[in-house]
């Protein structure tokens, strides 16, 4: 055995398992969507000509975008706060963020059924105070999926950001303050631009996470507010429409890749601008 082949041999078992149980199954569901004897895009064209399908596709993008925006908006100040806290307090705050992240997503979606349901906390509160007279239907709506997804992915955003903001030199921050910038200006003009790489990484995780999450839209969205993931499941397991399920599968993969590409492009554009300013 030549020593050159050793690394390939060590990697071979994992490689083979991935080929057989990831690549092969994927190819075998995607392949038939393009070939019925000849190369055809008919399944995809048909998918996007149906306005119901398009509405699900657009809803999925819309919710993912809103969730990413709010996770960044809420997550950046929290991560900034954690990154600058003293060591003991910092560990506690990180543990508290980690806890929901490690708790099952069914539990975290169920929490919002209790809050938004017909007999939920919000309706009870509003009924008791006389603000409304009949319960509002908040659950099984796009709003419910959105808030449930923000709840699901905020910890991930915070943890990703803390790792990056921590590495920003505190001296830069102090320098900005010494030179007369107030806290808020220093935050907006110094910390925020330096946190952009973290925000990009976090946004990729949150956006693709929301785009593909199954539990939250299933439990909080109901049948009228499908997202691509629940629509795939319905087609595959309830309707038995395997062609449609496979079409949705490829659309989800391609959308994920495009989203990652776009975020990385944004990151490189911002990077370049930063370099020009320094030059």
């Amino acid at each position: 055995m030549s020593s050159k082949s050793i690394p390939y041999l060590l990697a071979a078992p994992g490689f083979i398992l991935l080929i057989v149980f990831l690549v092969l199954p994927l190819v075998s569901i995607i392949w038939p969507t393009f070939f019925d004897g000849n190369l055809t895009f008919a399944s995809y064209i048909a998918f996007f000509q149906d306005s119901y399908n398009v509405s699900i596709f657009m809803r999925t993008l819309r919710i993912s975008l809103i969730v990413t925006f709010f996770c960044a908006l809420l997550g950046v100040p929290v991560a900034y706060y954690i990154a600058r806290a003293d060591k003991k307090f910092r560990s506690l705050m990180m543990a508290l963020v980690l806890f929901p992240l490690l708790t099952n997503s069914v539990v975290r979606s169920f929490a919002w059924i209790n809050i938004l349901g017909q007999k939920g906390v919000v309706n009870n509160l509003l009924l008791a105070t006389g603000i409304i007279e009949t319960p509002m239907s908040l659950l099984y709506s796009e709003f419910a999926i959105t808030i449930g997804s923000i709840y699901l992915f905020l910890p991930l955003m915070v943890i990703t950001l803390v790792g990056i903001i921590e590495n920003i030199d505190t001296e830069i921050m102090e320098a900005a303050e010494t030179l007369g910038a107030n806290r808020l200006t220093a935050f907006l003009k110094v910390i925020l631009p330096l946190s952009v790489p973290g925000i990009i990484v976090g946004s990729i995780l949150v956006f693709t996470g929301t785009l593909t999450a199954y539990t939250t839209p299933q439990l909080l969205g109901g049948n009228k507010n499908m997202m691509l993931s629940t629509f795939l499941y319905q087609n595959a397991m309830t309707l038995g429409n395997w062609t449609n399920a496979s079409v949705i599968a490829l659309i989800m993969i391609v959308t994920t890749l495009i989203v990652m590409r776009i975020f990385n492009l944004i990151a490189s554009v911002i990077d370049k601008r930063g370099e020009e300013q320094h030059a």
């Binding site: 398992l17 199954p25 100040p77 706060y81 990180m94 539990v107 709840y151 595959a236």
Partner: protein
């Protein structure tokens, strides 16, 4: 350090947002009425008793433990040698291979689940246990590659070369010198992979069979058709398990090892 009051207030609100929903679950688990309500009337442990009396939950809990354990062990068995090969050698296609090993994270969970359902359940007609095991192996593997790979990249391989020079075989050096130096990375990756496999829904949802499901899928279908505090009680038990697990990780590796 002077703290901005506004920032502290904002951060407190975000933490309240994270914990109030979980707190409500804890409270509702003790209610006496057969539907979930908040605030509760009376005080009772009967929903906890209900969880233990529900055979489906007990069975699915054991299945989840087994699947998460064996899938992660399988991922370690193929993942450690692969990570070692990737970290130790500069061979052709190394970057590509590393990305390939991490690729299950890029493919959406429902897509992995659906394609495995077609392949394993419909085409190969393997038993449910094998199907779930393979599906969860795909969930676990990227965590092993990333975390074990990370600790290998920080390792100074001259200690291995020293062992070779002193007459150790390559395999001997690996087991006696390399492995002991990456044990904390292995444990951290095990924990991460185990937790993520245990919590997984989309892959399990497609691969569960009639009467056989993992705990999260069993809980999910219970939530879809029932609205009683049994769900709250089981949720509290899962949260307690998370706390115990976090405590153990903090005492051994430190929580920072898994973030």
């Amino acid at each position: 350090m002077r703290k901005e009051k506004g920032l502290t207030f904002f951060v407190s609100l975000v933490y309240a947002f994270l914990f109030i929903p979980l707190f409500i679950i804890v409270v509702t688990s003790f209610g006496e009425n057969p539907t979930i309500q908040f605030p509760i009337e009376g005080f009772s442990f009967k929903w906890y008793a209900n969880v233990f009396e529900n055979a489906a939950f007990a069975d699915s809990f054991l299945l989840s433990l087994k699947i998460a354990f064996f899938a992660t062990v399988l991922a370690l068995l193929v993942g450690i040698p692969a990570s070692y090969a990737l970290a130790r050698n500069n061979f052709m296609g190394r970057e590509w291979l590393k990305n390939f090993f991490l690729s299950p994270t890029i493919i959406p969970g429902v897509v992995v689940g659906y394609s495995l359902f077609q392949f394993i359940v419909i085409t190969l007609q393997l038993p449910v246990f094998q199907g779930l095991l393979l599906g969860h192996f795909l969930v676990s593997l990227p965590y092993i590659i990333r975390v074990v790979g990370g600790s290998l990249e920080q390792l100074d391989f001259s200690i291995e070369e020293a062992a070779w020079t002193l007459g150790s075989t390559k395999a001997g050096a690996f087991f006696k010198v390399i492995l002991p130096n990456i044990t904390s990375g292995i444990f951290a990756s095990f924990m991460l992979a185990f937790i993520n496999s245990f919590n997984n829904i989309p892959v399990s949802q497609f691969l569960s069979g009639p009467g056989i499901s993992t705990l999260p899928t069993a809980l999910m279908s219970y939530v879809e058709y029932n609205y009683d505090p049994t769900v709250s009680a089981l949720s509290v038990m899962l949260m307690l398990a998370t706390i115990v697990l976090m405590y153990l990780i903090e005492k051994t590796l430190g929580l920072s090892s898994i973030t």
